[in-house]
């Protein structure tokens, strides 16, 4: 079963956001890492970059293929997780914790209304895996 911690927000493309005031931490879900397989490369924006909800945040490559990661919430990148860039396999082993990708200063906190909460995402992910 795919792991879905409570209290997070999710995109339909399987990224998560953890919101703390006007700062959010972004990552990819357990479902996503499982679908992608062994992750070997990550390309993430530098601190200071402005990112936009729904637009590509970066690139994630598995042994098999390259995929885009999409931005869950708009804002300015405050910090990029260098550990996960250096050890992309952390996305497989710890998608919600060690493999957070970026921290963002949110430009519009109301964008959270476009995301699913953990409960809704659980239903969504279950439907996706039933294909």
């Amino acid at each position: 079963m795919t792991e879905i911690p409570a209290g997070l927000y999710f995109t339909k493309s399987h990224e998560w956001a953890k919101i703390d005031g006007d700062v959010a931490t972004l990552g990819v879900s357990d479902f996503a890492q499982n679908e992608l397989g062994d992750i070997t490369y990550l390309e993430l924006p530098e601190p200071g970059t402005t990112i936009t909800q729904g637009e590509p945040l970066g690139v994630i490559e598995s042994v098999k293929a390259a995929s885009d990661i999409y931005t869950a919430l708009s804002g300015e990148v405050l910090e990029t997780n260098q550990d996960v860039v250096d050890s992309p396999e952390l996305v497989n082993s710890s998608p919600y914790d060690k493999a957070w990708l970026v921290k963002v200063r949110l430009s519009d906190t109301s964008e959270v209304n476009n995301l699913m909460d953990s409960e809704k995402y659980a239903t969504f992910a279950a439907e996706q895996s039933g294909h």
């Binding site: 397989g37 062994d38 490369y41 490559e61 042994v63 293929a65 390259a66």
Partner: protein, 370 residues
């Protein structure tokens, strides 16, 4: 899209947690536990591969040899009973429609040809059409894929595991040779061949027995770490060993002489389809070469069809690329203008619009210790 075809092992793959995909019209597992884990299992222990999607053809008749000499690139007359060889079926242009393995049957009675899943229907139609055209030849080309089961066991422990349920002494089977024997009482043809760069066997059996043999092998090999392997690791294994994949290193736009396969093309054996074009190409000079490279700069994983540049000029394209589990490097094969080829020479791989530095290295990327 038509419903993908299923091998007799499809239900087993699902039970074993295989992630199933449509590959060349077949419902096949791309991975079970993970590509890197499966890859390493084959390099260090043993892995079991469902090859039920591949095609098999019986070629019989008084002139079977002459016919195969005409439609394939290698010298079939060199085969003793029980021997196998790598070859290609070429178009008159000299470009392959597929790469194949030709077996001379261990009992000496005719030949057995194994073709790729993605090309099987076309290959078989092609061979049957050529057989019909050559009215001077007494030959019968029969598609035996529907009755033939095929799987592979590969890795340093493959022989020891397979031996436990095989009647014949497998240590006597040489590389690219096959024997008729029984595996768990089932009559099989067992060949020391594979697509991984490891020692191992490919086993042909009646299709109704595939599931039983698969289960039995997993049972007798489990303690040694034998595990099922999906198509993902099959690709990383073959690429490290620099084995060509049709659609990547081979296509209707590439000749075997350009990708280092001239050893499987015997221009002096007499006439065969595609020979004239290759003789002409050889006399005019081969202008492209297949080279191996590794990325020496961060920037991503090289993938098939990415452009290759040198100093801003496009000099070729990537045919295959991956993150090599054994080397821990991003590697690839590229077909490039020959004047830029050479071990140690630089290339730039165009990854998402950026030129990322690579260096040509020796191939195969991986060679097992003897």
């Amino acid at each position: 899209m038509p419903e993908p075809k299923k091998t007799p092992l499809a239900a087993r793959h699902e039970e074993l947690g295989g992630r199933m995909v449509d590959f060349a019209g077949w419902y096949m597992p791309v991975q079970f536990t993970g590509i890197i884990n499966e890859h390493n299992a084959v390099r260090t222990k043993a892995g079991l591969f469902d090859l039920g999607h591949m095609g098999q053809v019986d070629v019989r008749g008084k002139d079977a040899l002459a016919f195969l000499q005409y439609v394939t690139t290698n010298d079939v007359s060199a085969l003793n009973p029980g021997q196998a060889q790598y070859a290609m079926l070429l178009l008159p242009t000299g470009c392959p429609i597929d790469d194949i393995i030709v077996y001379r049957r261990p009992d000496g009675d005719g030949f057995f040809v194994v073709v790729n899943a993605s090309n099987a229907e076309r290959d078989i139609a092609w061979m049957q059409q050529k057989a019909a055209e050559r009215t001077d030849l007494d030959v019968n080309v029969e598609n035996v894929s529907p009755v033939t089961g095929m799987f592979a066991i590969q890795g340093p422990l493959a022989e020891a595991i397979l031996q436990r349920i095989t009647e014949a002494d497998l240590s006597q089977v040489e590389y690219f040779s096959a024997i008729e024997t029984t595996v768990d009482q089932v009559p099989c043809m067992v060949a020391r061949t594979g697509y991984t760069g490891e020692d191992g066997f490919e086993v042909y059996c009646p299709i109704a027995q595939v599931q039983t043999l698969w289960d039995k092998l997993l049972e007798v090999g489990r303690a040694d770490g034998l595990q099922p392997i999906g198509l993902g690791a099959r690709d990383t294994l073959r690429l490290e060993a620099k084995m060509a994949l049709y659609g990547n290193e081979l296509s209707e736009e590439i000749t075997p002489l350009e990708v280092g396969l001239s050893w499987a093309v015997k221009l002096d054996k007499g006439d065969f389809i595609g020979r004239d074009a290759l003789v002409k190409q050889k006399s005019e000079g081969i202008t492209r070469r297949l080279v191996g490279f590794k990325m020496v700069e961060r920037g991503g994983v090289p993938r098939s069809h990415y452009d290759v540049q040198v100093d801003g000029k496009t000099v070729g394209f990537v045919t295959s690329g991956t993150s090599s589990p054994t080397l821990g490097e991003n590697i690839g094969l590229a077909l490039i203008d020959k004047s830029y080829a050479g071990v140690g020479k630089p290339l730039q791989i165009m990854i998402r619009g950026k030129a990322v530095a690579a260096e040509q290295i020796r191939t195969p990327f991986y060679k097992r210790a003897e």
